[in-house]
């Protein structure tokens, strides 16, 4: 136990305020995100992530949102296990034909009002896979999409910005 405490103390808090070159600082994005989530979702935005056919690259970056550097939960954003608990679906693609029905059912299981974000090049436009006998391409070809986050895969910061933009868009409606 002492060793754990020592390690924890020595590493300290790495959760960041880091201004990356040219990109908006994480803290800044985070503060805005927290304010918006507070305003619109009672301080808690629940996201259900759905891999509808991705290569798993996007999943790695979505996972990174929970590492101690990004710590997205501190902004009131958390990932849930069931679409029935979700305010937002974060869908990676391309949507394989074998996942088409499962994605639709997940969408239907999510209570209104719901936000859907298509993540990554494949989710946004089919990417390297496009439309084929096995792939429906973009998420928007299968369920209504409110916003897209481009990148192959999008970085964690881009994901946070994209989530922020999407809920901002909803606020203006």
């Amino acid at each position: 136990m002492l060793r754990i405490l020592r390690k924890t103390q020595r590493v300290g808090v790495i959760t960041e305020p880091l201004p990356e070159d040219g990109e908006l600082a994480l803290e800044q994005v985070g503060a805005q995100l927290k304010a918006r989530v507070g305003e619109m979702f009672g301080g808690s935005l629940a996201i259900r992530e759905v891999d509808a056919g991705s290569c798993n690259g996007c999943e790695l970056e979505i996972h990174a949102l929970n590492n101690p550097y990004y710590g997205i939960e501190r902004f009131g954003v958390h990932f849930v296990a069931s679409p029935r608990h979700a305010d937002m679906l974060l869908v990676t693609g391309p949507v394989s034909r074998h996942m088409e029905a499962a994605l639709k059912r997940t969408y239907e299981a999510t209570p209104d009002p719901k936000l859907v974000i298509a993540v990554g090049e494949c989710g946004a436009n089919g990417g390297e896979f496009g439309v084929s006998y096995a792939s429906c391409g973009a998420v928007a070809n299968v369920v209504p999409v409110d916003a897209v986050i481009l990148g192959c895969p999008p970085t964690p910061l881009k994901l946070m910005l994209g989530i922020l933009e999407a809920i901002g868009k909803r606020a203006r409606r």
């Binding site: 296990a81 034909r97 088409e100 499962a102 792939s135 970085t155």
Partner: protein, 531 residues
């Protein structure tokens, strides 16, 4: 005949096959070097399986190809320290071949994949159910036949695949747990069907194929650069290793040799990919047994490494940095220094963290004797990578069938025999240490010079095969060019093909709540398997 050829097990194999009455349809060829290539008649296919079993080979992979009137079927075998590809052809009108599954359980799903994609029937296969095919195409259509259009012929939406015939269990107190395809987490989709009594898992059956994206089909007709991009998305977490394997296959086919510096940079990226994935997964295993400290510490290390990869190579996962003929990105001195420093610092961090983990009796209780994969099963299923190495299968392509630049380096391969989750975690932690040593060696001896050889597409129907040891283990990548220099056939064999069946077996007799930690310790790729 070179010295090497004389000593190889392949000579004995060919002789024994002849004694069994097999006839060869083409002379032994080196066109798939370093693998040897022989051709046999379709009626000898069963003899190949028998002899491979008798010779104690590892059944590595199988793939087919539509060659007009005939389908070519290939099987890749391995025995220290040579690969052998055996090829046969079946008539399009009567596409029937003996199954190798009675000899090698590892052949089960690969053969069913060929059955679904080409319409080749495997006689005496113990399980004739479809595997990759769900409801996106009918049982009369075969996507990898040339006449099947890549666009498919589907109008409207694809129905759910709810008619798959799972094994069923009956008896007092036996119940089923269906899981997926959408899992409760940020994970890829697939279906797991458990039969359990109380907390005990009697049986697990996987139903995969949900992320089948038609990779083999849409590879056809691409140029070399396009195939490299596609290979980089076979499994995003192994983007470096898969792109390297595909480029190696294309380069061997086209006779292009990448410059030394490019090879070193490829290995550098590949080792960084290994470290990053092992760190992330060790953290995730610890998270699954509710040890949050470990999850955050390993998550921190993973992010440190990911960031430096991004700074050094311009992409956090180093995607699309390997191209046919070389690499796209050079690294600056500052990045070299930073990577050297990182490779020096990690062993100390890791040793301390693993000591904390080892000290914790509750973690020990959850990881030791959990999810045991026996040596016999690991061998029968052809398990490679850390799943194999934790169950006494020492194979590592980097060391055993070495390729540049590993042929100049010392590759240490950890080996355990317990086959439990704890052993897999140990192998992965030790692989990180070995990778740090490799990274230091690569950086110390990094040659100067060009990053890329001129790529010229071949003008005949040449073929090549690439073997790379990625972080999950051996990746096999087969490529054949058409005469117009475009891709005629691409088949990537991710090591997950060998570890998914292992997961089904190793979770038996464990408690249902231990499934996540068993699964994470294996961490098969759905995308890399479903193609």
């Amino acid at each position: 005949m070179t010295q090497e050829q004389r000593n190889s097990w392949i000579n004995t194999f060919v002789d024994s096959l002849t004694l069994r009455g097999a006839e060869f349809t083409m002379p032994r060829s080196t066109s798939l070097a370093p693998a040897a290539l022989i051709g046999v008649r379709a009626e000898d296919w069963d003899r190949v399986g028998q002899e491979a079993k008798a010779s104690d080979c590892r059944w590595v992979a199988a793939w087919g190809e539509d060659c007009g009137q005939q389908f070519t079927i290939n099987v890749c075998l391995y025995k220290p320290s040579d690969y052998l590809v055996v090829r046969t052809t079946v008539e399009r009108a009567t596409p029937v071949l003996a199954s190798h599954t009675p000899y090698f359980p590892a052949a089960d799903r690969p053969e069913r994949h060929i059955q679904d994609m080409f319409g080749v029937a495997f006689m005496d296969h113990p399980d004739t159910r479809r595997w990759t095919r769900h409801q996106a195409w009918s049982d009369k259509e075969f996507p990898l036949r040339k006449e099947f259009p890549a666009a498919g012929g589907i109008a409207g939406s694809t129905p759910p695949d709810d008619q798959y015939r799972f094994l069923s269990a009956q008896g007092a107190g036996v119940y089923e747990i269906p899981v997926g395809p959408v899992h409760a987490g940020i994970i890829e989709p697939g279906h797991f069907r458990f039969q359990a009594v109380g907390e005990l898992v009697l049986n697990l059956e996987e139903h995969l194929g949900y992320v089948h994206k038609g990779i083999e089909k849409i590879a056809e007709g691409r140029d070399a650069a396009g195939l490299a991009r596609l290979a980089g998305r076979v499994s995003g977490d192994s983007t470096v290793a898969h792109t390297w394997a595909a480029c190696m296959a294309m380069e061997r086919a086209a006779g292009v040799t990448p410059p030394e510096r490019a090879l070193y940079l490829r290995a550098l990226m590949c080792e960084r990919e290994r470290v990053v994935n092992h760190l992330g997964d060790i953290g995730a295993v610890l998270n699954d047994v509710a040890f949050a400290f470990g999850f955050y510490q390993f998550g921190r290390l993973r992010e440190d490494w990911t960031r430096l990869s991004g700074q050094a190579f311009g992409h956090r996962f180093m995607m699309d940095r390997i191209v046919p003929g070389g690499v796209t990105t050079n690294i600056e001195q500052s990045a070299i220094d930073a990577m050297r420093q990182q490779a020096r610092a990690l062993p100390e961090e890791l040793t301390k963290l693993m000591a904390i983990v080892d000290d914790n009796a509750s973690i020990e209780d959850r990881l030791e004797t959990t999810g045991v994969l026996s040596l016999e099963l690991a061998k029968a299923l052809g398990c490679v990578g850390y799943v194999g190495r934790a169950s006494g299968q020492p194979f590592d392509v980097r060391r055993d069938v070495s390729y540049a630049p590993y042929d100049r380096l010392t590759v240490k391969v950890p080996l355990y025999r317990y086959g439990d989750v704890a052993a897999r975690v140990k192998v992965r932690a030790e692989e990180c240490l070995a990778s740090c040593e490799l990274i230091a060696q690569l950086l110390d001896t990094l040659p100067s010079g060009a990053l890329k050889a001129t790529w010229s597409a071949p003008s005949s129907t040449v073929e090549g095969v690439g073997m790379i040891d990625g972080w999950r283990g051996e990746i096999i990548s087969y490529v054949r060019f058409a005469a117009d220099g475009r891709i005629a056939r691409f088949f990537p064999r991710d090591p997950s093909w060998t570890t998914w069946p292992a997961l089904e077996k190793l979770v038996r007799d464990n408690i249902v709540p231990d499934f996540p930690v068993c699964n994470k310790s294996v961490n098969g790729s759905y995308s890399g398997h479903d193609l």
